[in-house]
Symmetry: C2
Subunit: 131 residues, 2 copies
Amino acid sequence: MPDDRISLVFAALADPTRRAILTRLTQGDATVAELAAPFDVSQPAISRHLKVLENAGLISRTRRATARLSHLEAEPLREVTAWLARYQRFWDESHERLDELLAALQGRDPEGRADAAPTNGADDGQDRDHR
Amino acid sequence: MPDDRISLVFAALADPTRRAILTRLTQGDATVAELAAPFDVSQPAISRHLKVLENAGLISRTRRATARLSHLEAEPLREVTAWLARYQRFWDESHERLDELLAALQGRDPEGRADAAPTNGADDGQDRDHR
DNA sequence: TCGTTTTAGAACAAGGTGGTTATGAAGTGC
DNA sequence: GCACTTCATAACCACCTTGTTCTAAAACGA
């Protein structure tokens, strides 16, 4: 996986264990042992999950005595949400197309889907690192 | 990577090439050759990226003559956004903490961060499959 | 200082990812 | 039917990921 910020965040979120850890952290900071408890994986495995989350900026860590506390940092999630927001109109378009389909079923023009395929201009200006 | 839906979507989005493909598809359906053009990777590599996107439900495909058109399906992005929405209040809390920090800098209580660490109750009820 | 607790790192195995090249299958059109 | 275009699949490779166990480092408490 590439090492740009948003790719790291998406990759970190692709693992259910890590998502569950983030969810747990919404209830408050926690030690490694506390985070490891619900899972039947070893402590080093959890430590590595935490490192992945930390590299993605999704958690920060502090010391308390011999323990290390993990703290949720939600800012990257905000960035991801901002990225996703650009696609929101396509959810709406799905609804429009559904309307079109219903209209078509009632009468004419059984062509449901636009076919633009402009020769190019791809990419979006913030994914400029595909290896 | 696990094979639950949301993990597949996050994993698919973790690759910049695939994100760029999705962005391209916001301009209209496209053939494999058209999608491959902006990248300096082989056609089979693009075909596999498309398969990943299809498995995640992010695109659908139809035939037109000998070509296969890819079509953006934004619904999974909506699901991801819904998942992320649960963390929105923590962005707000960051702001609250920023306010607290500013207040602290002006006077008292240099303790910036709550320390709950409730013994457990982890997981979130929709990530119930950590292998 | 020394033992205890807590966590991280090293070394290893198994499996996945993303890239390549070579080749075959599907569909069109003459 | 046959050649051509378009795409997918197979086989292979390098590397990354996730898990393991074993061990060491860090911070404390006695």
